[in-house]
């Protein structure tokens, strides 16, 4: 599926919650819990993205022209957001990742997490995902 298609899928998945933010966050927390843990060897200083409060670890590799991301966070809500980002961007082509606009976050009503001042480092993570994708594609 393309990035756009996955985004649309997530949007309809979240639509059922409507104004029920508790349901929405419960789902987000579940997503966080079910995200596979990052390999212990990839939990490095280099892979860390520091927000003021919660931390994110991100590892990126290129396989058959697609970027494979694994990631983790010490805060579960952040980890839920991370899970969504991985679902959308992992296994996509670097060029597609670089130009993704990720409008779905706004559409599912979680745009507060995208505030440039948000303490959770999610914005930095998205930037890092794109940067990694570009770097990896240039290396090969």
């Amino acid at each position: 599926m393309s990035i756009k298609e996955i985004e649309d899928e997530i949007v309809s998945e979240f639509e059922i919650f409507g104004e029920d933010w508790e349901g929405k966050y419960e789902h987000l927390i579940d997503l966080g819990k079910s995200l596979p843990m990052i390999d212990e060897k990839n939990r490095t200083e280099e892979n860390i993205i520091k927000g003021c409060q919660s931390r994110v670890w991100l590892n990126s590799v290129l396989k058959d022209g697609k970027v494979i991301y694994t990631a983790d966070s010490d805060a579960i809500i952040t980890k839920g957001m991370v899970a969504l980002m991985i679902r959308v961007l992992s296994k996509q082509a670097p060029t597609e990742i670089a130009k993704a606009e990720l409008g779905f976050i706004n559409k599912i009503g979680l745009k507060e997490h995208l505030s440039p001042t948000r303490a959770n480092g999610l914005v930095s993570m998205i930037n890092r995902m794109k940067l990694d994708a570009i770097k990896l594609s240039q290396k090969n």
């Binding site: 508790e22 003021c52 919660s54 805060a75």
Partner: protein
């Protein structure tokens, strides 16, 4: 004693709804909201009184100067100081830096802080030590947040020049026995100076710098119902001449030539540039607001809130409160076991409750407890028991959501 309904009506922002819930503002340790009288004093200042001060011959300037100097008197009385001992600053951090940059301590001196200090009362001294081959020493604490003051005597050496410590911990709420510490330190060496960081005490309790016998005392207006950008540095009168200027310019001088400049004496020497006149006027208004309620009444009300919150929190088995200390201002730091404070804070916000999460600019204190951060609820005069009940309900739901 305190009529909460009447008080809340004076704070326009408290009518706000957040995420379709009435705002419960428990982030008062970070900054307090402002009562209408303070907002009005700003509007009045700019609508009727604004002019640059000190040197103006015209009526507006003369009246603005009188207003400014009257404000200095009000603020001085508020902490039982003389107005000639009050330097207006941009805040607590600004005041501490002014002392750190203006001190005349010899190279190699030792400065003592405590394990629970705010970064603003650590970094300026760390920097001073770095640049002057100095040594920073730390008064350790106990799990309940009390200082190990029995260690004081062994920390003090002949090189000790300053003890810099918080009156009230911004993270734990613990009230430190500053008067006793000052007494003990000066008994060992009367030349040791003591700086008290009153950022979290002045908003919540009566402070008497004379009785306390500190040498320097700093606080911020924005944490005590006054505008952002206002702050106070008290300097004991006889110490003015020992302070170097670290910031200079317009308003500090008797005469200037390229060869030689003569500075004025007293507070004005340290208030270079056009002061934040509006904020100073607002700060005096905030002092009067607190006086009108009675600072003792404010303490008492907030103490009731603290006790209620502590009692309620103790019924939630997942909650771990830091510093079960008997002498506290209305601040509680806690964590939900196994949960990140960021998650707890994010969900509480969804229920309309504003708490602060994270390290609260006290990373060394976090290291002591071996944690990344806490959730902090801190109360002010406009908070109510009902709000605490709403908060406790929301916290229970939050815990459920996270599990």
């Amino acid at each position: 004693m305190i009529d909460s309904k009447h008080i809340r009506e004076q704070f326009p922002i408290l009518k706000k709804w957040i995420n379709n819930k009435p705002l419960v503002y428990f982030d008062n340790g970070a900054t307090t909201q402002k009562p209408q009288v303070v907002i009005d004093s700003i509007v009045k200042y700019y609508s009727e009184q604004n002019a640059n001060i000190h040197r103006g011959v015209h009526t507006l300037s003369r009246e603005a100067t009188e207003l400014f100097e009257r404000s200095r008197q009000t603020v001085a009385s508020f902490i039982s100081a003389k107005s000639s001992e009050i330097i207006f600053t941009a805040g607590t951090t600004d005041g501490i830096n002014l002392i750190a940059n203006g001190s005349n301590f010899p190279k190699g001196s030792e400065i003592i802080v405590s394990q629970m200090e705010h970064h603003s009362n650590i970094l300026p001294w760390q920097l001073w030590c770095e640049r002057n081959e100095g040594k920073l020493k730390v008064i350790p604490i106990n799990k309940d947040g009390s200082l190990q003051i029995e260690k004081l005597e062994s920390l003090i050496t002949t090189k000790t020049v300053l003890i810099a410590m918080a009156h009230v911990s911004n993270t734990l709420g613990v009230i430190n026995p500053v008067k006793e510490i000052i007494q003990r330190a000066k008994a060992i060496n009367s030349k040791i100076l003591v700086l008290i960081d009153g950022a979290q005490s002045v908003p919540h309790m009566s402070v008497d710098v004379k009785d306390m016998n500190c040498d320097f005392f700093v606080f911020s207006g924005h944490k005590m119902y006054a505008p952002t950008g206002s702050g106070v540095l008290f300097v004991k009168e006889n110490l003015f001449n020992t302070l170097k200027q670290s910031k200079t310019g317009g308003g500090t001088i008797k005469s200037v030539s390229f060869e030689k400049t003569e500075y004025v004496d007293g507070p004005l020497r340290f208030e270079a540039g056009t002061p934040n006149i509006e904020a100073v006027v607002g700060l005096a208004q905030a002092c009067e607001f607190m006086n009108s309620l009675g600072v003792k009444n404010i303490s008492a009300h907030e103490h009731l809130l603290l006790e209620h919150a502590q009692k309620e929190l103790s019924t939630i088995s997942e909650v771990e409160v830091y510093a079960n200390h008997s002498n506290k201002a209305a601040v509680i730091s806690f964590n939900v076991k196994g949960q990140h404070p960021f998650d707890v804070g994010t969900l509480l916000d969804k229920y309309g409750i504003a708490v602060r999460t994270g390290h609260h600019c006290t990373q060394p204190l976090m290291s002591y407890y071996g944690i990344q951060g806490t959730v902090r609820a801190s109360f002010a005069i406009y908070n109510t028991k009902e709000e605490i009940d709403i908060f406790i309900e929301a916290l229970k739901k939050t815990i459920k959501l996270l599990n």
